[in-house]
Symmetry: C2
Subunit: 343 residues, 2 copies
Amino acid sequence: MESRKTTITDIAKKLNISKSTVSRALSNHASIGLRTRMRVQQLATELDYEPDQTAIHFKQRKKFLIGVILPSISLEFFSSIVSGIEDIAYKKNYTLLLGQSRDDEEREKKIVETMKNHRVDGMLISISKNTTNYEHFELLRKNKIPIVFFDRIPNMNNIHYIASQLESGMKEAVNFLIKKGHKQIALINGPANLPASKERLQGFENAMKKNKIKLPPEMVVSSDLTKEGNISATQQLLHLKRRPDAIIAFNDYVAMDAIQQAKKAKVRINKDICFISFANEAICNYMDHPPMASIEQFPYQQGEKATEILLDLLENSPSESQEQEPHYHNILLPSQLVVRISK
Amino acid sequence: MESRKTTITDIAKKLNISKSTVSRALSNHASIGLRTRMRVQQLATELDYEPDQTAIHFKQRKKFLIGVILPSISLEFFSSIVSGIEDIAYKKNYTLLLGQSRDDEEREKKIVETMKNHRVDGMLISISKNTTNYEHFELLRKNKIPIVFFDRIPNMNNIHYIASQLESGMKEAVNFLIKKGHKQIALINGPANLPASKERLQGFENAMKKNKIKLPPEMVVSSDLTKEGNISATQQLLHLKRRPDAIIAFNDYVAMDAIQQAKKAKVRINKDICFISFANEAICNYMDHPPMASIEQFPYQQGEKATEILLDLLENSPSESQEQEPHYHNILLPSQLVVRISK
DNA sequence: TTATTTCACACAACCGGTTGCTCAGCTCGT
DNA sequence: ACGAGCTGAGCAACCGGTTGTGTGAAATAA
């Protein structure tokens, strides 16, 4: 019948002293005599006493909880980010509340609501690709819950974020292809509303311009990132009069779908058409014909860094209320071309 | 300066009524007059009042929090399970606290400790492959925190668990191979301490016996599931005097490593040696030479079912204390062979 | 009219810790 | 011997809700 957990009051009663004395004794407060301190601590271990974090959190208005919302953890890219987040949070004794939006704006909103009610200390969010309304983020701002966005950033002002600086990687990719003698370079981009898509496109256009290669508009197609979208985008390129001799894909999954389609069309991968992708997922190592190169975006590091920023915000938040203009962290992590096949 | 969240007390003061009245008014308690109820509710919405879940949880000893611990979410198998868990939990307004053990026993213990202190209502755990000591789980039992284990089950008595019933899938696999004319069937198993390994082995031996095919001991090798382990296990089989003409692999990742090695040894995949794996991960669809078939373990459903059991436990836990012998849920979900290549 | 019920709300305890303030008793200096 | 200073510990408020018990006034019944 020793069911209920022992509380600080139990200890106090057994020792005929007051709650507060026990509390202070347990935290080795100097104002408690050594003898009492020892007695309390011994009884505490005997009774397997463990402080109820719920009560502490309630009192201290601090929960050591970070809410993480992202589209899906089944993508290696995101699961790596989560690992990066977890490793930093873990060290500082924070725990992760996880929610997948499944690229559904309504679901994203509900998760935000739930986490807000759970009174998370802060949030790390990568928005759903369908999210166009940002009320729920504004709501968090009103509630003084800091957010650091990662990878998929909303189009808002005055936010903290970290993402990949895709331009550098894209430039490397184009240069790499040109050095190999490719001229008809195409891009399978993502949905236009994603900043990540805009950045890729801009990087692509700039790199082409710098190399003085003309870029016909039909060489840029876009996919909604579903399998069907990827296939149809690929078909568009394959059916072009002047078929591209190189394709840069939005990410590895797009590239894999594209390569599969290309194979069906008897295209020799990385020979007739050379493929380059973003993300550099490990899975590709198991493919017979992976993209020739991929642009590494260092998701693990992105997760780490995002968490560091958030924790920093959390620890310095009291001062923030005094500052008129808080400082917004906007970080772009350089990306980097990784050549998989040197052939 | 409207910084602090509005509380029930704020509302009470502004309306010159008591806290309790406000509380009851908000929950539409019948003993509060309609007029007062309306006034309270209106002011509440005006002030953007939202109850502090922390306080409620504290009072009710219920947090709507489920702790999930698994080796790694970067494996598609586990991330699918998490999705299954989340979808059920989400419907009942539970939130997920996530921790990855990284197959490290110490880390697993620390995560358990943290989650216990967070006073999760219950836990869903898939143990690390290195975990041999179960103290931390016993500790949870003492704390009346119910656990449902999934997929990787500890070797303990009186626990709730759900896992794949591998024997049926294994039998299908062996029969499938035999029907195709294979006789030298080998198994690359996982570490011996995992029940999942024992089950695979047993299923394999039984199926072979039933088909009256002799099984020389060297046809069963085991890997620690690292890439190196997979490679070395594969090498053992390839160097056998009587090389197997079919290999059943512990899971898709093992199979992919094995296939890669086999290719290097100029083996024609699914021709010289036919591969079958467990898990049926989607990634394999992108391979040129995936295993010919794979045993689907329905991870999403496993996650769903595990969560249903846990939630059921949570809702009926009060009665449990009266029962002398609680009922332990031990569920084995049938697995099923999925043929990828009908060739 | 008086007794009784009903209504509408207030009071206060409680959940399990933390913490500012108070205070008794002892030591020590003068 | 007396006040100052220090030590060790207790009291009570607090965090933000929920809930059992009381209570005065109005409504109804006798």
